[in-house]
């Protein structure tokens, strides 16, 4: 591992190609990476009987990119990551649409799984995006942050000493 990798980050309104993002990760470390883990977050029904019609994603331009880069850098300090990509969409999304992509390439699967999960947990609690749901009934509501996401993210703090 000559130096820490950089994470390619994109915040965009248009859709992303999951397979192409994987291919780029794979190509960027051919022969070195033994494991690639990719995560996609999708728009799903908000609650049983309360069908989501669409989702609007607002963000804080500039801070989003900076925070995502900081999260990736933290992952690089903790795990042996060879390549990383994060894509987050903003604007109007429909049911079933892709929202977010996080992909990590590493020599070993443990590092790839942990780094990808850490990135998503940190993104969920630190990256300045906000979701507004529009239900089929026409009702609009800003999604409330879930305590479980905070708990999940904090587990990485306590895991720190042994995770290196």
């Amino acid at each position: 591992m000559p130096e820490l990798p950089t994470c390619v980050i994109a915040v965009q309104t248009h859709d992303f190609d999951y397979g192409a993002l994987y291919d780029e990760l794979r190509r960027s470390c051919a022969g070195q990476a033994g494991a690639i883990v990719c995560f996609a977050g999708l728009v799903r029904d908000f609650a049983p009987g309360q069908d989501t019609d669409s989702l609007y994603l607002e963000h804080y331009p500039g801070m989003c990119e900076r925070e995502l880069q900081a999260i990736a850098d933290e992952a690089f300090q903790r795990w042996a990551v060879q390549a990383c990509r994060i894509v987050h969409r903003v604007g109007e999304l429909a049911r079933g649409d892709q929202i977010v992509f996080a992909g990590v390439a590493s020599a070993h699967r443990g590092d790839a799984f942990q780094a990808a999960q850490f990135i998503m947990d940190a993104l969920k609690t630190r990256a300045p995006f906000w979701k507004r749901e529009t239900l089929r009934s026409g009702e609009r509501l800003w999604v409330e942050a879930r305590d479980s996401d905070q708990v999940q993210a904090q587990q990485w703090d306590t895991a720190r000493p042994s995770a290196g």
Binding site: G41, L57, E58, H59, Y60, G62, M63, R66, E67, H88, I99, V100, M120, L123, K124, T125, R126, A127, P128, F129, W130, K131, R132, W142, V143, E144, A145
Partner: protein
């Protein structure tokens, strides 16, 4: 007093409550204030912001606690806990 202002950005539900997405805010006597003091002033202007405990602050695009000092020229953002991903 000239130039002793901060830029405040509002996002998502908070922007709906204030009715604006950004504004310039004067610091009294140009002195730094804490986030808590700023929130108290903002709540007087925008009563719908209460309770302000759950609101999040960023200064110059970094998350900060409410006791963070804010000085002239800072970019301050006010928003709900994030819900991306």
């Amino acid at each position: 007093m000239n130039g002793a202002t901060i830029d405040i950005l509002y996002f998502a539900r908070v922007a709906e409550l204030t009715g604006t997405r950004s504004e310039s805010w004067s610091l009294a006597d140009g002195n730094p204030i804490t986030g808590t003091q700023l929130l108290s002033q903002l709540q007087q202007r925008y009563p719908g912001l209460a309770p302000t405990d759950r609101l999040k602050l960023a200064v110059n695009q970094y998350h900060v606690r409410h006791d963070q000092a804010i000085k002239a020229g800072d970019e301050v953002a006010l928003f709900d806990p994030v819900t991306g991903g």
